[in-house]
Symmetry: C2
Subunit: 339 residues, 2 copies
């Protein structure tokens, strides 16, 4: 596919301008732009330019506050709470991050709770911001109910992403970020467009019966990854990043929104761990981790996130490759906003 | 299979006496006995009477300190550290638990770090102790290297259990506890004895090639559950409950022990979350959780741990059913100690 190379700075400027024109405050436009461009830069097209229209549709539907001014509360013990005030999560996270990092260094372990945010982004950029502080991080959030618990028949769980990162000096961090559903919903859409049957074990139809039909799956429910274990982890995410923090679980998020076609509103939970404090002067945590990560690579297994880091290195050197369709989409968004 | 019903109190007394006779301190005998009897009471035979001999063999091999006196350090921020001093983890956890609970109420979130413990127990009894305090809990630990990372060829990860619990008023807590390998090693042993081939995707042979032969699998490596996602979670456990806390990863644990036939030495990480503090006066976390858990049950999906709770109710009412072989094993252990 032919493409044009666009610098990170140039793409950021275009994306920010689209958000500003649509009515977002400069702060929101900047953090939204950063998230979208990070997706494109790292070859994660599913979180790139393609997402802009969804963000704008969420605004047009009145389901996000474009100039919300997130408020970071004084730390309550090890808990840092950010009220996103109905705005996109990205700005709330950016404001909470320095306080989270400071508290993690102070108490060894700290939690960032984001409430009442609208969420469309991958979690790995946030995890990378935490590892850049020399901390380990864990992040999770609900979504809208599109996944049936194992043994169940109806959508109840969200695709509930779970992400973790470990800082590595002078190297890209160890980072993973995945949906706790077998696949993301967009993957099923790709099978539908291609007219291919789904692999077994991905989805249920509207009657709660296993199906390999993409259409039936989109009317029914996806399944969690890893059988009852993945289902349990996804449930944990509902309880910790929903109930625990006084926010929506995925069923309530869907009820509130009434659709899965725009970005959902719920909360997010992020934990930060300070390796020095946790190790308490025993074996060097960084050296132990490097030996272990080295042993994974040493037997030829790939670390998660490597494709992203490779794409990033190329994009920073050569520019971000955008297709004609993506450039046309940017042109259109600049002129018309969301479709 | 014919069996005899033994009361929890009577079995506890017999098991404790076996540990005392073997040379364990009264405190260790009590916490070991409690763990073994909890396994039998809840129908988890894999963590019941069958484990006693392994504990005694660990002692005979000089790989556990039978009268270790675990020391709970003053809280360092949100971190409570217990030095198990080479003893079994159970006593270290019991001593750390009240301090963990107090700190979790004080700072909303707290971590219990156990170092230099010898580990043979399931994590759900510890998680239940945390939920009994009205807190949510997460626990994890390495093991010895018997699992290859996805894409790798050799044992490096442990079976690395991951457990979580949520407190429910007047009801059994929501609790899960599972190995992050496809199955526990004992399961492969059962296939070997039955002469049955393993399902695809469970294991690699000694050359790192996929195998369905139980013998080849036992000489090779197991695989993580859930493909690259389970492999990532298992790696996270090595980093958080190994490197982070200044303790062994699973490869180092195996190196130190030199065998997988007795209990491994490493550390453990347990997090406790106070729902009231995390919810911060927003939606009631318990009510939200009850609605969500009710919705799981409402569509016919089983909650994790239900088989254990059912077995427990029966055992507390009627006694614990022990087979002739298990009673003979107790007799033998009382007379001879480990084989």
């Amino acid at each position: 596919m032919s493409h044009e190379l666009v610098s990170v700075a140039a793409l950021t400027e275009r994306v920010e301008a689209i958000f500003v024109k649509a009515g977002f405050s400069a702060d929101h436009a900047a953090t939204l732009g950063r998230a979208i461009v990070a997706g494109e830069r790292d070859g994660c097209k599913s979180h790139g330019v393609y997402r802009i229209a969804g963000c704008l549709r969420t605004l047009e539907a009145g389901k996000v506050v474009p100039d919300a001014d997130p408020v970071v509360a004084e730390p309550d013990g090890a808990i840092i709470r950010v009220d996103a005030k109905g705005g996109f999560s990205n700005l709330a996270f950016a404001r909470g991050l320095p306080v989270l990092a400071e508290q993690a260094r102070k108490s060894g372990l700290a939690a960032l709770v984001i409430n009442d945010c609208v969420h469309f982004a991958a979690l790995w950029p946030e995890i990378e911001d935490i590892t850049a502080e020399g901390l380990a991080g864990m992040a999770m959030c609900p979504s809208y109910a599109t996944v049936a618990p194992v043994g169940g028949t109806e959508p109840l769980l969200g695709t509930n992403p779970f992400a973790f990162g470990w800082p590595r000096e002078g190297k890209n961090p160890y980072v993973f970020d995945f949906a706790t559903s077998v696949v993301a919903r967009g993957e099923i859409e790709l099978y539908r467009r291609a007219g291919d049957p789904l692999p077994e074990g991905w989805a249920l139809d509207a009657d709660g019966k296993p199906t390999t039909s993409p259409e039936a799956a989109l009317d029914g429910a996806m399944l969690p990854f890893g059988g009852h274990k993945g289902s349990a982890i996804s449930t944990m995410i509902e309880l910790l990043a929903g109930a625990l923090i006084g926010d929506f679980t995925s069923d309530k998020a869907l009820e509130w929104l009434g659709t899965t076609t725009i970005a959902p509103r719920h909360g997010e939970l992020i934990l930060a761990f300070d390796p020095e404090r946790f190790a308490g002067g025993r074996a060097d945590p960084r050296a132990t981790a490097e030996a272990f990560i080295g042993a994974i690579e040493g037997q030829g297994a790939r670390l998660p996130g490597q494709r992203r880091f490779a794409a990033r290195a190329e994009a920073l050197r050569d520019g971000i490759p955008l297709t004609k369709a993506e450039l046309d989409e940017l042109d259109r968004l600049e002129k018309e906003g969301a479709a």
